[in-house]
């Protein structure tokens, strides 16, 4: 098993890392001090662009370039919003960062705020993350007491405040515009883009929204330089990535590894192989919203480009491992249940489409499907894809599409034999 240098998780298991004293002892807030005293905001942005850091929330948009989209001549305040509404099934990296190393997240937020000249940053945190929210709030107070947050920070005439806002328990609020609507006090409905948040976001002001993991990388980039960061990983997918390994593996958990490591290495070397040495059936490499990969793709490299080539996406790097005991129809049904439940109800194709897909999948799973239903599933997916405001509609269909593509025989078996192909469950009535 190859050893790689940990960046985000370097100190994560140190006792007391969530306290500012330990964090400072381990070199914390040095990057912020460096940025504020030695660098202009533009230089910080430049360094992040140089590092090639891409957004870790799922879309993989280069973070530095996003910052550079802010209008230069706006008379409105600029806001930074940290997307801590981590709700993608199979993803649990931000939670660990916030719970165990909250100051790293805060330092990243501070540096980014400095880089984009933001005076008020919001951390929109998922409702269920009560402990993480408590940790963040406490850490912010510690940092405020040390003078890293507040007015005239480090005597440099900079004012930055960070506000933690807890969500209301909706997956959709992880979508950036829905997050902003929710933060403004409205019902979490995504907005039509354009205008993009960088032009008109929170309260109509230019707003940058970044994922927790993205921001946690920023202090290290400032400390050690963008070129150093770009040397890790692949050419286009730089740096390390926290892979959230879950499913039928012996050692599930968060693993910080360089971009581009092979899937086999993650599952068999770090994850300790499949449970009870069963056979691998499929892998969902980037949270439930990306297409399923079959077992023969085990040697794919985990970076944005390679996975796209293999017919899937890196997404939020929530690697869900499915072994041979899994019924793919049931898996698709289970995922669809989630999307039907979480569809916000704004656009027709999404709220009616996911409902319809769920009803058909439910019927097939319970042995009441027909062969025409399989074409109907694809047809409904076609009508949803690309026709919705936000990506939730597009995220709901890959599960159905890819399982139908790779495991069509299981669906057909369900329909023909009125029982499941893999499980020993009795025949459905």
């Amino acid at each position: 098993m190859a050893e790689y240098e940990k960046i985000l998780f370097k100190n994560i298991d140190q006792p007391g890392q969530d306290r500012i004293e330990t964090y400072l002892k381990n070199g914390g807030y040095k990057a912020f001090e460096k940025a504020v005293t030695n660098m202009t905001p533009e230089e910080v942005t430049e360094e992040v662009i140089k590092s090639g850091l891409r957004g870790r929330g799922g879309a993989g948009f280069p973070a530095g370039r996003k910052w550079s989209f802010l209008p230069k001549d706006s008379d409105k305040p600029v806001y930074l919003t940290v997307n801590a509404d981590e709700s993608e099934p199979g993803t649990f990296k931000d939670r660990e960062l916030m719970e165990k190393d909250p100051h790293l997240v805060i330092e990243g937020t501070l540096i980014t705020s400095y880089a984009i000249k933001c005076r008020t940053a919001f951390i929109y945190i998922r409702a269920e993350f009560t402990y993480a929210a408590k940790q963040l709030i406490r850490a912010i107070e510690e940092a405020r007491a040390k003078g890293y947050i507040g007015k005239n920070i480090l005597g440099r005439g900079i004012d930055i405040d960070i506000i933690v806002h807890r969500g209301g328990g909706a997956y959709i609020c992880g979508e950036e515009t829905a997050l902003l609507t929710s933060l403004e006090g409205g019902r979490g409905h995504p907005r039509v883009k354009p205008p993009f948040p960088a032009i008109s976001g929170l309260y109509g002001a230019p707003t940058i929204i970044n994922n927790v993991e993205t921001l946690a990388n920023v202090p290290h980039i400032v400390n050690r330089g963008g070129e150093w960061y770009a040397s890790i990983g692949t050419e286009k997918s730089t740096g390390t990535k926290i892979f959230c390994l879950s499913g039928h593996v012996n050692k599930p958990g968060n693993y910080e590894l360089p971009m581009g490591i092979p899937l086999r290495e993650l599952i068999y070397d770090y994850g300790g192989g499949i449970l009870e040495d069963r056979n691998l059936k499929a892998v969902i490499p980037g949270g439930s919203s990306v297409p399923v990969l079959t077992a023969d793709k085990i040697d794919v490299h985990l970076d944005y480009e390679s996975l796209a080539e293999a017919g899937s996406m890196l997404g939020s790097a929530g690697v869900i491992v499915l072994d041979e005991t899994v019924c793919m129809v049931k898996a698709a049904l289970n995922m669809m249940r989630f999307y039907k439940h979480e569809s916000c109800g704004q656009c027709t194709p999404c709220h009616q489409g996911t409902y319809w897909l769920l009803r058909i999948l439910d019927r097939i799973e319970h042995g009441r499907g027909t062969m025409e239903d399989l074409d109907e599933l694809i047809h409904i997916c076609d009508n949803i894809d690309g026709n919705t405001i936000c990506p939730l509609g597009d995220a709901a269909t890959p599960g159905v599409r890819s399982t139908l593509q790779h495991f069509r025989e299981e669906y057909e078996y369900h329909i023909e034999h009125k029982k499941c192909m893999v499980s020993m469950a009795p025949r459905f009535v």
């Binding site: 039509v192 569809s343 109800g345 027709t348 319809w356 009803r359 009508n383 690309g386 026709n387």
Partner: protein, 810 residues
């Protein structure tokens, strides 16, 4: 940025200003893009996805209702990709939509029906069961949920276009409606036990693209295609919103908006919308009545006319015409006002012609010129500071106030209320500067002195928070646009002269607009076409003359002094002294009880005519139902018949004849014969040059321990006077009367919220339920709404400026 952007839509080039939405650009060249959730007056949400179009070089289809054009866009609205997407969207809309079109009120005028016919798939692939949300409460028909007294919601039919929530939130600024749950289970709902009945709630029903929201007063009554539409004008306030009277046979079924961008932009308030059933009230008179042996009995039209004419002829022949008086109303049409002046002025030869039955003190001619809106209704969207002096825009000019709300929500304008009780414009931010009742003039004088930098001392306790006025003075100095607006309360304000004088002073110092909005629909018209009785000849003078015996007979047209005049007992006692009282009224009520002769009067839905609204716009309205069996007539027709019998020549058979005569005789209105669709603007007098006698404010008298409270009363948006009480629908929405008391007063009296108390003086009182709120001043009681069986004017005295009352337990 360029002035125009050129884009190509379906191979056709079009130039539009930057920021135009694709759907609007397409509309310009006649390309129709189907939609459910789009409304050009509301914020776009792009929710229904029906308006998806293909734009070259864009990977996905885009919502044309939410995307502005960009230079050189090439747009296709009828490509295969678009058609497939539309079919898909419609199929999604329909999977959970019930097939209850035969019983659905929207059937026949339903965008979902229309779009499905035009663009939809002929068959659905959907094989599952539809979601059905059932209402298990008793006494509910079908699956409808009660949202408020008037509006019901059927969750099954709802396609989640969010028009209703946008109307409520963005337009009215209220928070009544919201979306609950998520995804396919989402529905529109209200907070428990908070009724959905804001001022504009009916718009949600009209603009609902399916039959999800229905009106209690209309649903399950008639089909859309059986209704005929008459282009009419609302007669319940001075805004003059355009509307369609929708009727069949002899009945009006509903009012729907008739969009006029100069006035209403297609919105109606609930008073105008749900006041449609005034015409079919059970107290409506359809026949002439004559008093025989002290009781009124129906009689033939000829008999009634003969009696009236005989009486009139006697007086005319004796040259005693001046012993006859005629009283009209601000709700009569221009033609009717003119006819009354012609008949009673020229034929009967009396000068006692007036309409001011609502005011304790008649208006002087110089004040008359100040009434009306300065500028246009569309100008109320302009930026600036709006100062409302004892005025509730939501009730005094509901639909016009939407423009001010819009300006506030766009942060262009701010609204300041100088008022004795808390007022609001939805939840939009406004400033309430509270003064004690009747002391508005002090606040204005103080404001004036702050702007001028002079000294003005306000007696202690009259203004709650002077610093708000100090800030306002600062803001006024920095603002180049100020508009002072007063409304219905101005006309019966105890210190009207002082109030007006201070308003004009303030107007001059900040070159502000000054508007006084009358309550009646045609105040502007009747005062210009002959119903205004100059000092000495006004209604109060007529009452005096009746008391002194020099007026023997009174003809009342369309007004009801017993309900309107702020001293009920005095009016009734006076009218009893008359030798001959002819009442021309649509209803049997407290006034007809005193009459010798009653003629049935047509209401605006029954005949045609014209009104002049608060901005001086003359608009024509058309007759609705065919009332062939009924005998009610407009005033000019009744007087025309008198003339016919008397052979005096003033005979009119049609409202256009009256207008032709007006055009001939009044040169200022020579173009009244040709009223365009959007109305005819006649110039009001420029208010800049108006001078008024300066009057300094007076301190209102103090209450004594016997009658410790000052009485205030106000109508509400749903109930603006005795006429709205004739609408069963409106009474269902707002049929409650409340006395607002300050918590301290309530504690002193030992009164609890909701308790019925007797409010009154030694002689008389009314029983009323109490609402405890600090939205009224301490020591004041505000009565909301007045009803025929519990009239507030029973407590008022014509010669007392301020009315004091006591609160007694019952």
């Amino acid at each position: 940025m360029a002035d125009k952007i050129s884009v190509t839509i379906n191979d056709q080039a079009v130039e539009v200003p930057p920021g135009t939405l694709i759907i609007e650009a397409a509309k310009k060249i006649g390309v129709k893009i189907p939609t459910f959730c789009y409304d050009d007056r509301l914020r776009s949400v792009g929710a229904c996805r029906m308006c998806l179009v293909e734009v070259e070089k864009m990977p996905k289809l885009i919502a044309s209702c939410a995307t502005p054009v960009a230079p050189n866009m090439v747009i296709h609205t009828e490509s295969d990709k678009v058609k497939t997407a539309r079919k898909g969207v419609l199929q999604f809309q329909l999977i959970n939509h019930p097939l209850d079109c035969p019983t659905c009120d929207k059937g026949g005028e339903c965008p979902l029906q229309d779009n499905t016919f035009l663009y939809g798939p002929t068959e659905s692939d959907y094989k599952e069961n539809k979601i059905r949300v059932m209402n298990r409460e008793e006494d509910q028909k079908f699956d409808d949920f009660r949202l408020g007294p008037e509006i019901y919601y059927n969750a099954n039919r709802c396609i989640m276009c969010f028009k209703c929530t946008r109307i409520v939130r963005d337009l009215a600024g209220e928070a009544d409606l919201g979306v609950f749950e998520r995804g396919a289970s989402s529905y529109i709902g209200i907070m428990k036990e908070l009724d959905f009945a804001d001022e504009y709630s009916g718009n949600t029903v009209e603009y609902c693209p399916v039959g999800a929201l229905t009106s209690r007063s209309f649903r399950y009554k008639i089909r859309d295609w059986l209704l005929k539409k008459a282009s009419s004008v609302c007669s319940l306030c001075a805004v003059g919103c355009n509307l369609h009277v929708e009727w069949s046979r002899d009945k009006v079924y509903r009012h729907m908006a008739r969009r006029n961008d100069e006035i209403d932009i297609g919105w109606l308030c609930d008073r105008g919308r749900y006041g449609f059933d005034i015409t079919s009230n059970k107290d409506r008179i359809y026949k002439t009545h004559i008093r025989r042996d002290s009781s009124l009995e129906p009689c033939g039209w000829e008999e009634a006319t003969a009696v009236a004419v005989k009486y009139l002829t006697e007086y005319i022949d004796d040259n005693r015409g001046a012993e006859i008086a005629a009283v009209g109303s601000g709700s009569l049409s221009n033609e009717e006002a003119y006819a009354i002046r012609r008949f009673f002025g020229d034929v009967v030869r009396t000068d006692y012609i007036d309409f001011q039955t609502e005011y304790a003190e008649p208006l002087t001619p110089d004040v008359l010129d100040l009434i009306g809106l300065e500028g246009k209704i569309s100008g109320l969207e302009n930026k600036g500071i709006y100062i409302f002096v004892d005025c509730d825009p939501a009730s005094d000019f509901p639909v016009a106030s939407l423009r001010i709300r819009k300006a506030i929500s766009k942060r262009k304008a701010r609204a300041v209320f100088i008022t004795s009780y808390h007022k609001r414009l939805g939840y939009f931010p406004v400033t309430n500067i509270r003064v004690s009742a009747g002391s508005e003039a002090f606040a204005l004088e103080y404001l004036h002195s702050r702007i001028q930098g002079t000294d003005f001392r306000v007696p202690e306790g009259l203004i709650e928070d002077k610093s708000k006025l100090d800030n306002l003075a600062k803001d006024i100095k920095n603002s180049d646009s100020v508009h002072i607006i007063s409304g219905r309360a101005f006309f019966n304000h105890p210190y009207r002269a002082a109030l007006l004088s201070s308003m004009i002073k303030l107007k001059k110092v900040c070159s502000a607009g000054l508007s006084i909005v009358p309550a009646q629909v045609n105040f502007m018209g009747v005062t210009r076409f002959g119903l205004y009785g100059s000092p000495g000849r006004s209604f109060t003078d007529i009452l005096d003359k009746i008391n002194s015996g020099s007026i023997k007979s009174l003809f009342v047209f369309g007004s009801n002094p017993t309900e309107e005049f702020p001293d009920r007992r005095y009016v009734i006692d006076t009218l009893r002294k008359l030798e001959f009282l002819v009442v021309v009224s649509p209803f049997m009520d407290s006034l007809t009880n005193l009459a010798s002769l009653v003629f049935p009067l047509a209401l605006p839905a029954d005949y045609s005519g014209s009104f002049m609204n608060m901005e001086g716009r003359i608009q024509r309205f058309e007759a609705g139902p065919e009332n062939i069996h009924y005998e009610m007539k407009p005033v000019w027709a009744i007087l025309g018949e008198f003339s016919d019998v008397m052979e005096t020549g003033n005979v009119w058979y049609h409202d256009s004849q009256v207008r032709e005569e007006i055009a001939k005789n009044l040169t200022h209105y020579s173009n009244i014969t040709n009223i365009p669709q959007k109305g005819l603007i006649v110039g009001l007098k420029d208010k800049k040059e108006l001078e008024i006698k300066e009057t300094s404010p007076e301190i209102p008298p103090k209450a004594d321990s016997e009658l410790p409270y000052i009485l205030n009363w106000t109508p509400s948006v749903h109930h603006s006077g005795w006429i709205t009480q004739k609408s069963a629908t409106l009474m269902n929405i707002a049929g409650k009367q409340e006395a607002w008391m300050h918590p301290d007063d309530a504690a002193k009296e030992g009164v609890e919220a909701g308790q019925a108390v007797r409010i009154g003086n030694k002689e008389t009182g009314i029983n009323i339920k109490v609402k405890i709120t600090n939205e009224v001043n301490k020591g004041e009681i505000l009565i909301l709404n007045s009803f025929e069986d519990n009239p507030v004017n029973r407590l008022l005295k014509r010669d007392e400026k301020v009315t004091f009352v006591s609160v007694g337990k019952i």
